[in-house]
């Protein structure tokens, strides 16, 4: 008798809990934009500004009369930076909420975990994550707004070539970002006529990398050093670089293009260069710059509304949302196949991250030139050229 009672209790609770999950009534007269972002957890530095941007601009859109005469509704879930949860929430957006388009996926893992479901369901998806694998090879329904690390590496190497540098030392973290950056740099360096004469790595949790830097300095012929990583590692590399008094040109990747890096690295960062979004120097751009307006409008909107400084990650969400809005306008409906085709045909949308030229072969649409090479001067970003 005992076990059956247990079973009854268990069954009752299980039935109740599933019953509560009945699908919410679908409002037919709104356009539903779905999103899953890492708003909390280790990747919250990505998801938090992304969600804030989406909320801000969807509110604005609705104030201005919505889209195609309908109100726009944001359906958002927080995946906590966990790919398995991202997959579950993507499924919920697709099967239960039946959204018209998805703008989300803060990390590559979260994005890739959701991609098979999205491809199957046939819903346009604009990812906000970096890795190249998301759109290479091209997947029918998947687009993304951030540049890949390949563009960043290419932009750095172009700048080096312009300064006559052909032999470099590479130092990268062993985390996902650093490892991937190291791979693409090694892949394209040869074609661009740059030789990697030293290749050192460090663990993202290391607190000292002077031995790696000393080995690079001791390598014959090395003309510049590139550090590919994000988080606190690059700040340590930068400080060690300064302590060792190395006077070679020093490059960082786009992974540290934020004001918090300047705080972490302090004076040691002065003189280093990195590829970054023009957003960091929005107010220093010449007014003739094609991005000047869109950059400053986004910066002012965001900083005015949230009273915190704007980040390039939020800009990915801004561009993703604008691309989605454009595509729906162009398609004249939320018909998924038409919106997808419209996305693919966007050629020349001037966004915050860069100018997007999407096509059937390129679902990201940015080139290396969308990165600006910045130099740190007196603890602040400055444009080179």
């Amino acid at each position: 008798m005992k076990t059956t009672l247990k079973q009854l209790a268990a069954g009752a609770v299980a039935a109740l809990s599933l019953g509560l999950m009945a699908a919410p009534a679908l409002a037919a007269d709104t356009i539903r934009i779905g999103s899953f972002l890492s708003v909390t957890g280790p990747a919250s530095f990505l998801g938090d500004p992304e969600l804030k941007t989406l909320e801000l601009y969807i509110d604005k859109l609705n104030e201005d009369g919505g889209l195609l005469g309908k109100q726009v509704e944001l359906v958002h879930y927080d995946d906590v930076g966990d790919a398995a949860k991202a997959r579950t929430f993507a499924n919920r957006l697709l099967r239960q909420d039946r959204v018209d388009i998805i703008v989300g996926g803060s990390t590559t893992g979260a994005t890739m975990a959701a991609v098979p479901l999205i491809e199957q369901a046939g819903v346009p998806f604009i990812s906000l994550a970096g890795a190249e694998t998301i759109t290479t090879p091209v997947k029918k329904w998947v687009f993304k707004t951030p540049q890949s690390d390949r563009q960043a590496a290419r932009r750095v190497l172009i700048d080096m070539k312009e300064r006559g540098i052909t032999k470099i030392g590479l130092i990268s973290g062993t985390g996902g970002f650093g490892a991937s950056g190291r791979n693409v740099t090694k892949e394209i360096a040869g074609d661009m006529g740059v030789e990697i004469v030293a290749d050192e790595t460090y663990n993202p949790k290391d607190t000292d990398v002077t031995s790696q830097l000393t080995r690079i300095r001791g390598t014959e012929g090395v003309q510049a050093i590139l550090n590919f990583d994000f988080g606190q590692g690059p700040a340590i590399v930068t400080r060690n670089y300064d302590q060792l008094g190395i006077d070679l040109p020093f490059y960082q990747s786009h992974g540290v293009a934020s004001d918090s890096f300047l705080e972490l690295a302090g004076d040691a960062a002065n003189g280093l260069r990195l590829p970054a979004s023009a957003l960091l120097v929005a107010d220093k751009l010449p007014k003739s710059d094609p991005q000047y307006q869109v950059l400053n409008r986004y910066k002012n909107d965001y900083e005015g509304h949230y009273n915190e400084s704007v980040s390039t990650f939020g800009a990915y969400a801004y561009d993703g949302l604008q691309l989605a809005i454009r595509a729906i306008k162009q398609a004249g409906s939320t018909d998924k196949a038409k919106v997808r085709d419209a996305l693919e045909s966007i050629d020349g949308y001037v966004g915050v991250t860069g100018t997007y030229r999407l096509s059937a072969d390129d679902h990201m649409g940015l080139d290396a030139e969308s990165f600006r090479i910045l130099e740190v001067k007196d603890g602040d970003w400055a444009l080179t050229q």
């Binding site: 079973q7 209790a9 299980a14 809990s17 927080d78 997959r87 499924n91």
Partner: protein, 328 residues
């Protein structure tokens, strides 16, 4: 705790069967099926872990490592070595079981909670290896996994299949598979609990010294159940990898190990059915709390604390006891 009960298995198993069979009626769409499949797979791990925690009184803080071991081994063997999914799953289970044996053998000769520390270490190491060996594991960005296939028939989540004239979607078929696997896992666990091994385990949970005096080779039995629970996790991990089609190192994280332990404690230690409910609750709560995004973790913690304070034996044993008292 001291009374050794003999379980009558049939009523419980029939009830479980009915619940698993009726559950699809509550599913309105593929997303609900997806949740139920995940609950079944997680419950398999929990049932295995419960053997260790609830019956042998040993806590493993690294079960996510075994789960991830099964998942990654299945993914890599099918992808790089042209294993069929089923042999890959078995190979993974043997490998993970052997690893558990190697770790457990020296540790389980010691008294106390040394296994917790060893498995804690193992779990952290596994997460680091999966994250760093990106050439093999894909690193933090994850790894795609081929769909499950049985004897040449592919079972894709997205397919649809003809079966005795009925059309059934891949997701529904996956639910049948996951529910069947859970049923099998529970049946095996119940048999194990009633076997001499199970009796020995309950004896040593009550008092290790008394069990030893009675002639129970406690180290041997603890080791055996540790390996069994690791194999449970490995098989569930393999199934999950094929089901989701994409795995990331998150599944090997310390947080995931804690989640598994939480399921066991929440549902009720030494209650095989309780931990299934625990798995269901733990996986469903986040879906209910999406409206309270910022408060999700706080609410989650509060629910767990409330259960621990008011129902320290876990949900199902506490409720069952209350029913019994009323009946008496």
């Amino acid at each position: 705790m001291a009374t050794v009960k003999t379980h009558r298995k049939a009523p419980g198993l029939i009830a479980l069967f009915v619940i698993l069979a009726v559950a699809p009626l509550l599913a309105a769409n593929a997303f609900h099926y997806d949740l139920m499949i995940k609950i079944c797979l997680t419950a398999i791990v929990a049932v295995g872990l419960n053997l260790l925690v609830g019956y042998a009184g040993q806590v493993s803080l690294g079960h996510a490592a075994f789960y991830a071991g099964g998942a990654y081994a299945s993914a890599l063997l099918t992808q790089n070595y042209e294993f069929a999914p089923l042999p890959a799953m078995l190979t993974a289970a043997v490998a993970v079981g052997s690893l558990a044996w190697l770790v457990g053998r020296p540790i389980l000769h010691l008294k106390g909670h040394y296994l917790s520390m060893a498995t804690l270490g193992l779990g952290v190491i596994a997460a680091i290896v999966i994250n760093n060996e990106d050439q093999i594991t894909g690193g933090p960005d994850g790894l795609p996994v081929a769909p499950l296939s049985l004897f040449g028939h592919e079972l894709s989540v997205f397919g649809s299949y003809e079966w005795f004239g009925m059309t059934i979607t891949g997701t529904q078929l996956w639910y049948l598979l996951a529910a069947g696997a859970l049923f099998l896992a529970v049946w095996l666990a119940l048999n194990l609990i009633d076997s001499p091994l199970g009796r020995a385990l309950r004896a040593l949970h009550g008092s290790e010294i008394a069990a030893q005096v009675a002639g129970v080779d406690t180290a041997k039995y603890k080791l055996r159940v540790f390996v069994i629970s690791a194999v449970y996790a490995s098989v569930a991990g393999s199934l999950y990898a094929h089901y989701s089609g994409f795995i990331t190192p998150d599944i090997a994280s310390f947080g995931h190990s804690i989640e598994l332990i939480t399921i066991v404690v929440l549902g009720g230690m030494a209650s095989t059915y309780g931990v299934i409910l625990g798995a269901a609750i733990l996986l469903l709560i986040p879906q209910f709390l999406t409206g309270f995004q910022e408060l999700e973790m706080v609410l989650f913690g509060a629910i767990l604390m409330a259960v621990m304070i008011f129902m320290p034996r876990g949900l199902v044993p506490t409720i069952a006891r209350r029913f019994q008292k009323e009946a008496a």
